[in-house]
């Protein structure tokens, strides 16, 4: 067994040097990690699971990678090896990203971007890597389904000073401020995406299209009291019946508040707050403006 | 102080705070 293990590891190294990632992963998967052999401890098992997952991820094979990361999940909580723990986190985030669980991926990428140490074991953590993780967090958040959960993550990212230095900061700003995104901005953002983030979905929209449509629909809900299906379709750049369908799905999933009047062919948006509460907020705004004016007058010596 | 006057002008137009049928019903 020991010799077979050694041969497998050596062959895997060879395959890796040839960039035949999946073959290297398959070679290592043949190792019996449950064997009672000397030298196979939890740390070894964890390192192999993570290594196999990373190799599969090089070929964007999320399914096989996930199988090994799930095995690693049982071992990582007891692991004191910081390098392995970090590699595990990165793999897990990438798997979530590939599986289009964008919000969860974003949270994990953001977590990675906040690592304070610059040296973990023999590995150096450079600023570029952390910036890459942060950028990935922003990208995944923007691609995630529009709604209250995404808004919370957006707020965290927007308020993080480091994000203002990222190339995709302008689109993050617009998304956070819930502004409608126009085609040129979406196309510029698309250039930064990976293939799986632009893949086609069963309804013939791409992942990016779906994210942008939902975002723009939510933005429209902030600007409009109500809107016709036709106008909404024009605004979103899709046929009216598809606009209605996406709106109804978002309302059903409680990611947007509103109602649909099919007779009048209109969508009525509702605010999260009641009319009287909105009135209260307006009055508060008036009082704040009044205070600001009085402060301004005092500063000028009036 | 033109900027103050502009701010006051904007402030004076903020009331009534809301004008909608639904608000009137709720308010009553």
């Amino acid at each position: 067994e020991e010799q077979a293990l050694t041969i497998r590891e050596k062959l895997a190294d060879l395959y890796e040097s040839e960039e035949q990632w999946s073959k290297a992963a398959q070679m290592l998967s043949g190792i019996d990690l449950d064997s009672g052999m000397r030298g196979i401890d939890d740390t070894y098992r964890l390192s192999k699971c993570v290594q196999i997952a990373r190799l599969y991820l090089e070929d964007d094979d999320a399914i096989n990678a996930e199988a090994f990361i799930n095995k690693a999940s049982f071992l990582v909580s007891n692991s004191q090896n910081e390098v392995l723990n970090l590699q595990y986190k990165v793999c897990y985030a990438r798997i979530l990203d590939l599986k289009r669980k964008f919000l969860e991926a974003a949270i994990r990428y953001y977590d990675i971007s906040q690592i304070e140490k610059r040296q973990i074991g023999d590995e150096e953590i450079d600023e570029a890597a952390l910036e890459q993780a942060l950028s990935a967090a922003v990208t995944c958040t923007i691609l995630a389904g529009a709604g209250p959960q995404r808004s919370r993550v957006l707020a965290t990212l927007y308020k993080d000073e480091r994000c203002s230095k990222l190339k995709i900061y302008p689109i993050l700003q617009k998304v956070y401020l819930e502004r409608i995104l126009r085609r040129p901005e979406i196309d510029a953002f698309a250039e930064e995406l990976k293939p799986h983030q632009k893949a086609f979905l069963p309804d013939n929209f791409t992942v990016l299209d779906r994210a942008m449509i939902e975002h723009n629909l939510l933005s429209a809900s902030k600007l409009y009291t109500n809107i016709s299906f036709d106008e909404l379709g024009t605004l979103l750049g899709i046929p009216p019946h598809k606009a209605e369908k996406i709106a109804s799905k978002m309302i059903y999933e409680d990611r947007m508040r509103g109602s649909i009047d099919q007779v009048e062919a209109m969508i009525h948006f509702e605010d999260d707050t009641e009319e009287l509460q909105q009135w209260d907020q307006q009055i508060v705004g008036v009082c704040q403006s009044l205070n600001n004016i009085l402060d301004g007058m005092a500063k000028r010596g009036f | 102080e033109n900027s103050l006057l502009r701010e006051v002008s904007s402030l004076l137009r903020r009331l009534p705070a809301i004008e909608s049928g639904k608000f009137q019903d709720d308010f009553l």
Partner: protein, 222 residues
């Protein structure tokens, strides 16, 4: 407040520029100011003596232009285009933005038809795109678009430069606010007094009832 803070530096810059220039170079500064996407106030520039001196000169057109941007609307420009220089695209955009602010002065609910007429816009999509991108996202106006009722409800609009005679109506409005606030405070005070009086009556009544119950108990026991 945000608008004023954003344009304070710009106003200072253009006032300084206007003070240092005359004639045709001052005309260029006026064009630059009226084209600037972040500037919506022009009375400070109008107040610069060099600008006032343009009156009666070959560059008086630019003084008229500045006055138009300070107080006028797109309709005002169209009706007196003969006495004004031709506008570039940025100026047309700004004048239309300022028109929306003027319309919001008189009414909180602006019908689409009226807006389309005032802004020379032919369809609802174009109007709404203008209101969204050039007014709401520019921060000069906040509100809600209502396609069913075909109107735009204004919740906030930035202030324009005051027109001559506008000050007195502002003072009148503030006087009315003051009177209403005073009356409201008096009403609240009266209500507090009434509530206190009712509370006293209630306490007294409660005590009477308790005393009677005690008396009844004593009677029953004896």
């Amino acid at each position: 407040m945000d608008i004023e803070q954003k344009q304070a530096d710009l106003i200072e810059h253009f006032v300084k520029q206007a003070s240092l220039n005359k004639g045709s170079s001052l005309a260029s500064i006026i064009i630059e100011a009226t084209s600037n996407p972040s500037l919506f106030a022009f009375s400070e520039i109008l107040a610069v003596p060099n600008v006032a001196e343009l009156q009666g000169t070959e560059h008086s057109l630019y003084l008229n232009l500045l006055r138009l941007f300070a107080h006028g609307t797109w309709s005002d420009y169209k009706s007196s285009a003969g006495s004004l220089p031709p506008l570039v695209a940025d100026q047309i955009l700004k004048l239309k933005q300022l028109t929306v602010l003027t319309l919001a002065e008189t009414s909180k609910v602006l019908p689409y038809d009226h807006l389309m007429q005032e802004l020379d816009v032919t369809n609802v999509r174009e109007l709404e795109d203008f209101l969204i991108n050039e007014c709401m996202y520019a921060g000069i106006v906040r509100g809600k678009l209502d396609q069913f009722r075909r109107c735009f409800q204004v919740l906030f609009a930035a202030g324009r430069d005051l027109r001559p005679g506008q000050l007195s109506s502002m003072i009148q409005t503030m006087t009315n606010w003051l009177a209403t606030s005073d009356n409201l405070l008096l009403t609240i005070q009266e209500k507090i007094k009434w509530a206190d009086a009712m509370s006293e009556v209630d306490k007294k009544h409660k005590k009477e009832v308790e005393d009677r119950v005690e008396e009844m108990k004593k009677t029953v026991v004896s």
